[in-house]
Symmetry: C2
Subunit: 260 residues, 2 copies
């Protein structure tokens, strides 16, 4: 039997921080046909609230060290402020949104990251998703909006990378749906030439990716993102798209599509 | 056809603020049989976060004036910090909880309170609940956990009294379920003699309430609460219970039950 389609869209700080960008994106999101799930981060906002509360954000290699009070800020900002405002705005656009952390309906369980050289604190590495529970919401015609928080099943919330949440949900839901993931970021897509913002590589598959890597065409920051995409594809996701939010406008095809 | 039972339990700041009380209550809640909904406030915690952020909480007659920045704090604390920690703790107790504001699944819509003598700011007076959407969650075996936030349907979140949320959900769900509301507060129940904490009036109906009022037996603070209870009963709720969380222990019957 042909599976129904499901789109998972991940947005980051650049969209969330800016009222106008967020409003424009949510309008595009509301017009997307079919089953959909939104995943959002919200890091910069958390940093600014933390700073107002006198908490210094400690970052190592771009990753936030999440001590107990930083976790409180993240729970407030991601789970409350950002998530619930997005939900309210989607409702105004006739999208029957429901805001979730991984604790809600036990949707995403993770393990607290083990302490090695660095103690990341209350950071979770995703372990499993409860696809059938998330699917109950979709079948009920609700649109799940996930923030970047999971739980360990023992009452502990954990700060979790939003990209990983999107790919894990994608993999989990691909048992039920023909699943595509859309990663929205600042650029138009994966670029051939980083100094030329228009030099988007429109299609990448396993073979072209290997060639691009061999020729040093992929920037260091992009490699883990693309590895993560191929990992999702190898585990059941149909397609991954990378670009800015213009990829949801019908006339635009200037973004990157990744397939196996 | 006989309706299934649904219990709506409202807890306030005295339980939420104290880790031990909250853990004990959540354990009792997890053991409650049948369909259930939890409603929580969280006012004191919001006041303390607001104060750390340099925002002075303005109260008039015990009601919070909710300006834009106070609404942000409330959204962070009620919708994020308090709600998501309760959800994670319930999951650890095998309750498949889902945390909600009134914006989620458009569950509770309200009108921004009109400005008369006092401008309460972003405070909502409840207008309607979407019973069939809340019921989809219950039928999916999820346990809704509502915080005291609603929305106006146009993208605006609104701070809303948690007691009112509990009674409105009670009334709305009474079309589908045989609905009881449990209001948890510090006292054992409605007291005959305020200086004797054990002098609980176990049963109040319309007639006894009129007599108690006539004889000046009900304290001023209790009258609006009881009026609210009778209002819910007149609009379809079967029973309202008032007491402390011990009312959920099987051996205890020292609390107040209100019926028409």
């Amino acid at each position: 039997m042909l599976k129904e389609k499901l789109s998972i869209i991940k947005i980051g700080g650049n969209i969330i921080e800016d009222e106008t960008s967020l409003a424009a994106f949510l309008k595009l999101f509301s017009n997307l046909e079919g089953n959909k799930i939104l995943v959002h981060g919200g890091g910069k906002r958390a940093t600014s609230v933390a700073s107002k509360l006198g908490i210094t954000s400690k970052m190592i290699d771009g990753r936030r060290i999440t001590d107990a009070e930083t976790l409180e800020v993240i729970t407030m900002v991601y789970g409350g402020l950002v998530n619930k405002n997005i939900v309210a705005k989607l409702q105004a656009l006739q999208v029957d949104a429901i805001g979730l952390t991984g604790a809600d309906i036990n949707s995403i369980k993770s393990d607290k990251r083990p302490i090695k050289e660095i103690d990341f604190g209350y950071v979770g590495d995703v372990k499993e998703i409860t696809s059938h529970s998330i699917d109950k919401l979709i079948k009920a015609d609700f649109t799940p909006v996930f923030c970047a928080i999971t739980h360990d099943g023992n009452g502990q919330l954990l700060n979790t990378n939003a990209d990983t949440i999107a790919s894990t949900i994608g993999v989990g839901m691909s048992k039920i749906y023909d699943t595509s993931i859309y990663y929205c970021f600042e650029l138009n897509g994966v670029l051939q030439d980083f100094s030329d913002k228009e030099s988007v590589i429109k299609n990448i598959d396993t073979e072209t990716y290997q060639n691009l890597l061999k020729n040093g065409m992929i920037s260091d920051g992009m490699i883990p993102k693309l590895d993560n995409c191929f990992d999702a594809l190898q585990n059941g996701v149909q397609k991954v798209h990378i670009g800015n939010t213009a990829m949801f406008t019908k006339e635009n095809n200037n973004f990157t599509t990744i397939t196996l």
